[in-house]
Amino acid sequence: MITKNFAKKDLLSISDLSSEEIIFLLNQTDSFREVNERDIKKVPTLRGKTVVNLFFEASTRTRASFEIAGKRLSADVINLSSTSSSSRKGETLRDTARNIEAMATDVLVVRHPSSGAPEYLGRELSCAVINAGDGCHEHPTQALLDLYTIREHKKEFKDLNVSIVGDIAHSRVARSDIAGLLKLGANVTVCGPSTMIPAKAECLGARVTTNLDDAIRDADVLITLRIQLERGGGLAFPSAREYANTFGINEDRLANANSDLLIMHPGPINRGIEMSPNVADGPFSVILEQVEYGVACRMSILYLLSG
């Protein structure tokens, strides 16, 4: 009898996963990292499988990351974006997805502005569905690569102090990160202006503060979220400059931080607003490693879900 370490058809959220499933995914990622270091970065596991990236929101790194991940596994990867898709012609999400499935798609990677869209597709379609970010709900693959990056440097999650700074209310990255970190035993603090902290924030399971110095003190890991100017983030504070002055991560604010503090950011960075260039490019920053490990994590997920 084989015991399954990962039992789900789809990857929709971190909240759905058990801590064992998360650990299994992280462990599996090591082997794919090695493939990415080879001269010939290819293994045949997904040969003949079709992976469709269906992105209804703009994305550079997540989509490129999934595309590279699929191709390194020898899959046939197709990229569909909303600007060029039939959704502009008024086709429903269900019809779009069913049409794609009719072409014998094995894995559908979806990013959608509505929370719950990937779950809906997971129920409707028999192929595997991976959530690449849905509305303000979750971004599970980002959380997995964040967890992997943290584990690389800090080894253990138990009692690790992780602070997440930014627009918590609208951040699916924050929700996924919080869920994953709590499942693995870390202590999570969320920080931002009160206009960006959701109501009943304590239900997230994290400590809430509106004081950045409080969030930085004793933190082992600092995850900085992008201020989403394109999503009405501009309404939550008077000006970008005021946000930068109060909540921007710069060298002065890090003066009393732990000497081995890890600085992370899901990207893309608004340099000078939520993070100063010196910090983004500085010695504590592991932002580029996150991108590197992101490909390996996504290879791990595609490998496990592709049947």
């Binding site: 399954k4 082997s31 080879r38 045949p44 490998y303 496990l304």
Partner: protein, 176 residues
């Protein structure tokens, strides 16, 4: 029910013999590399490498290979239950005399998968196969060049190669 086929002492001398046979079969002028398959093959490879170094005082590179990605029977069940271990071949195989090592050779499918994997690491001068036990029952045309023990057992019996590094003791057993 366990039956001993090779005692610890005979196991050790089999490895020594294989190591000697390999040295007689290679050109000392060219670089030598040894790659062990998955878990037990890796420890065998390390022992053979250290024997060879002792015998002819040459430096050889040792690599570790997990063939899971190249298996022809990779199902959803296996993917979701078996953790793929890390392949580590930190050198190019180009121009090298390559010895592939595994514990048991039976159907030949694992070695076929290993060969498919190794192609991606550079073109070796040649590749030879060393196994602790060859128990026949081939399903692919694969032949071992260096064999610790040839066995022919019926299908109901399975072979267990034990290693000090994992099991605390060396030996080959058949189990019904």
């Amino acid at each position: 029910m366990k039956t001993e086929i090779l005692s610890q002492k005979k196991f050790k001398s089999a490895i020594k013999r294989i190591s000697h046979e390999i040295t007689e079969n290679i050109d000392l002028e060219f670089p030598l590399a040894i790659v062990g398959v998955r878990t037990r093959g890796i420890f065998l490879a390390q022992r053979i490498a250290s024997n060879i170094k002792h015998i002819c005082d040459i430096d050889l590179l040792v690599g570790e290979l997990d063939v899971t990605f190249y298996r022809d029977d990779l199902s959803s069940e296996i993917k979701r239950s078996k953790l793929v271990t890390k392949t580590s071949i930190p050198f190019s195989c180009k121009g090298k005399q390559l010895i592939l090592v595994d514990d048991v050779l039976q159907t030949g499918r694992t070695i076929r998968a290993a060969l498919s994997s190794l192609v991606n690491f550079g073109r070796p001068k040649f590749l030879r196969l060393a196994v602790m036990v060859d128990r026949g029952k081939r399903e692919f045309p694969i032949k071992a060049d260096f064999v610790g023990k040839n066995l022919s057992l019926d299908n109901k019996q399975s072979i267990k190669v034990l290693l000090k590094e994992i099991d605390g003791v060396d030996g080959v057993f058949s189990v019904c």
